[in-house]
Each structure stands twice: as C-alpha cells, then as structure tokens.
Subunit: 272 residues, 2 copies
C-alpha cells in the first residue's frame, strides 16, 4: 500500500492525533521500576491506551539511542508491538549523503520497520532521495521546528525565508506523493505561510501539548479545515499525564480531550 | 583536557588526517567473511594501520545503525579500541530540540565516548547547546557539505548564502573554543569564503579522496597554510584501497601518500 493511502486511511478512521513515544527513564510514573525493561512495558501500555484514538505513533530515536544497544532493542520491540494499520514515524531527523543516507533509510525502513521518517533538509536533494524513492514509505522534512532556535536559520528574516524554500522544494520533490513537512504549532503566522507554500502536503505538527502551540491554528492551517491528512503530535502531555497508578487511564483521557477539541474546532468557521 | 588542546596536540603530533570508519559489509576485502564480526575486526586493523598517520578517527553512525543493536555494539567496541590520544569524531549529523538534543549528546559523549560530534545546524541555537556546553567535547557544525545537493539550500544564491550565515553563527557561538565546521573540499571557492567568514575555526574537510576534492584548496584555505588544526577526512580511498590480502598495507600506504602530499603543499606558496 502506498504511504499516501495508509496515511489517509489511518487519519480517516482514527483522526489527526499521533502519539510521540519519547519515553525517558527519569520521567516514568512512580509505580514503575527505573529499569530499561520498564521503558518497553510503559510503551506497550501507551500503545494499548492510545490505539483507539491515534492514527500514528512517533518514537523519537534520541530517547532510545541514549541507552545504547539496549535502547535499540527496546525501540525495535516497541515498533513490532504497534498495530499494523498505524503509521510508525521514526523521528530521527537524519540527514547525510550517498551511502550514509542509503544506510539510514535501511535502518529506519528495514531494520526498524518504520512507515515514515523525519529528515533534515540541510544537505539537499540527493541526501533525501534514498528516503523518498519508495512510495510505500513517507518522509517528513523538517520545515519549521517548534523551538526558539528556529529563528537562527529557518525564520531568519529574508524576502524568502529558508523554511518557505524548504516547503516549496518539498512540493517539487513530491513525485511519489509521500512527502510531508514538520511544521511546529508554536509559530502561528509561519504555520499559515507554510500551508500556503505547500497547499496539499501532509504536515506533522509538534508543539501543541507541553510546548503550548495553538490548537486552532493547527486545525485550521495544518489540516486545511480537516481535508489534509495532517498529524498532530502529542508526547509529554500524554505520556506523563499522571505520575501515579492511573497513568494509563490519564494518558487515554488526555488523548480523548484533545481529539474532542479538534473535532469541535473542525465544526467551527472562525477562531474565538 | 579541553577539546581545543586535545585537537591541537593531536594535529601537531600526527598531522592533519582523519580516517573515516565508514565500514560496510558489502565492501570488505575479499579475504574477510561477510559477517558483522568482520566489521569490528576490520576496524581494529584499520585503527592499527592508521594510528601513526592520523590525528582522528571518524565513524559515520549510519554504517552501524543499519545493523541494528549489533551495529551499536560494534561501534562501541570500535570506539573503545581507538588510542586515547586520538580524537574520536562521531559523525551522526544529529540535530533535535530540548530533551532530545540532550539525549543525543549523552549517547555520543557518554554512551559511545566520543570526543566530538558532527551536528546539523538547521534547528538553530538552542538545539546545539547540549553539544556545545562542555569545553572538553568538540562540535562540528555542518556548513558546506560535499554533495551536489549542497546547492538546494546551503549554496542557494543569496547575497548572504546560508552556509556563510552558519559559519558566522558558529564563530559567534564559539565561547568554549570547541566549535568547528564541516566544509567539503569539492567546492573550492566556497571553501575559501567559509575560511574568510570563520578565520580561526577548525574545519573538518570531507571530499578529498574518492569524491575528488582539491587537496591544494584544502591545505591552503582549510588549514590556513598549516596554522589551524583542521582535519582532512579520508574514508573509502583508504579503507578499500585493496580488495585483496594486502588491504592493511595498502590502506597505510594511501594515508602516507596523502600525508606526504599535504606536507609538500604546505611548503609551497602558490598552486600549480
């Protein structure tokens, strides 16, 4: 199945949410033992709690890499436990050239079994080809990230700022209809401009939960009023919704709350 | 010891070369069995062959990641086998925000024991802080990469092109004197411009061997005529100098050949 079809089917059935599996030992709820095994068990519980409410799961590779080879085993087992109809986005923000890019694509799509990746566009066209060439796999290019440092280069004031050139290039490279953009919810005006530069590309939108980005802008510009299979990522606000025994229930509640809010916003025409 | 001191001492004693440990199963010399164990053994032989001739070793993480957790074990053992006075540059080109950046830094510096990393500057200032904040660890920012895709964004024609803004920002961020730039040898004029924008930063220069970059420009602009502790990376041209039984001797010969050529160029004033 093409990535485009899998993404559309997932969003149409489960809605716009994606759960980021950014699982950190130090932040696990108090009842869990502080051991690597707990990370895997916690991930399995989160996958169970979220599966009725999300179209995608997005493990950030940094959280696993910091544990060395044990972390890679946990990541692999986590990916294996995600239901097949869900989109697995491996959030590694990789970017390299030639054989290195080809081997990163192999690591993400074959070794770990991801459906999609996040990649860094800085190295340009040929660095992205190994990720983009298979229509069954999706590629989200970093466009506008949700952190303050986005101002260093992405938003640096130019007549045609870098993040908009990335958005237009992504459009141009989208021959297999498997390219999307990472656009943070913390910059509302640029989010609107990115949607204008890439009217049909699926966005992957971080920054809504713990980072405080606007859900209205996310829904309005990100999903194009509900028409574009964009994914809205939540991580910490769900994973660590409770530090007590009720962490699984509270995680599910948090997802349902945001999902309901998105649905409510989609039925409105203008922001309050 | 500060990264600056270690780098200066290494280059002063062993010269400007860095060996890239981009070891690929399919490319191992014919006498070696095609198994992951052979990758580690080959790396150990290359470290032995190169140690008298290089200041640094640079494993590219893609080559290990493609093998999953086994690859991470090989990478860790490879790093452990590198003599302590050498600079270990972990070439992962990572770049992420907040906790993710902090955990990537932990993976590179603590879990794998690197002295330095390559990072992607696209996410800006705060994404780089976790790598830059320890003066004992070095950070090479991607500035101008050696691939054709450098033209997509880095070299995109602007009055002030992106790669030069990165070079100047790196200068500005270099409070711990532990920042360097990755500048490919395949673009001679921009290499000169990057040196002008960052007159004293150590460069890490790929593209000289198999990619055909100019050794004269590398020596002249990269090392500032021998004064700046820049590293010139060779990978494939050394690792795969022979596919027969003499691969170790031929690798050493290739390093000595380029090292001698660099020394010869350093005694000249103008290019031929």
């Amino acid at each position: 199945m093409s990535f485009e079809s899998k993404l559309k089917a997932g969003v149409s059935r489960y809605g716009f949410l994606c759960l980021g599996l950014d699982t950190e030992l130090e932040k696990l709820p108090a009842p869990l033992a502080k051991s690597p095994d707990s990370i895997l068990n916690f991930n399995l519980e989160m996958i169970e709690a979220a599966s009725a409410h999300v179209a995608a799961f997005k493990p950030n590779l940094a959280f696993y890499e910091a544990l060395g080879s044990v972390g890679w085993e946990i990541l692999k087992k986590t990916c294996e436990a995600i239901p097949k109809e869900k989109i697995i986005i491996l959030d590694g923000k990789r970017g390299d050239i030639g054989n290195s890019a080809r081997l990163y694509a192999k690591a993400m799509f074959e070794e770990l079994g991801g459906d999609a990746v996040t990649v860094n566009p800085y190295l340009g066209a040929d660095s992205l080809v190994p990720f983009m060439e298979n229509p069954e796999k999706g590629v989200y290019l970093l466009c506008l990230t949700s952190n303050p440092g986005a101002s260093s280069f992405q938003l640096f004031p130019l007549a045609d700022p870098l993040y908009l050139r990335v958005a237009r290039k992504a459009n141009e490279w989208n021959q297999h209809r498997n390219i999307g953009l990472v656009v943070g919810a913390t910059h509302p005006q640029p989010l609107a401009a990115a949607r204008q530069a890439a009217p049909e590309l699926p966005f992957l939108i971080p920054g809504v939960g713990a980072q405080g980005g606007s859900l209205w802008d996310t829904v309005h510009y990100g999903t194009g009023g509900g028409k574009i299979p964009t994914l809205v990522n939540l991580s910490r606000s769900v994973l660590y919704a409770s530090s007590g025994n009720d962490y699984k229930e509270r995680a599910e509640e948090e997802l349902v709350k945001i999902k309901t809010e998105i649905e409510r916003l989609l039925t409105r025409k203008v922001p309050q």
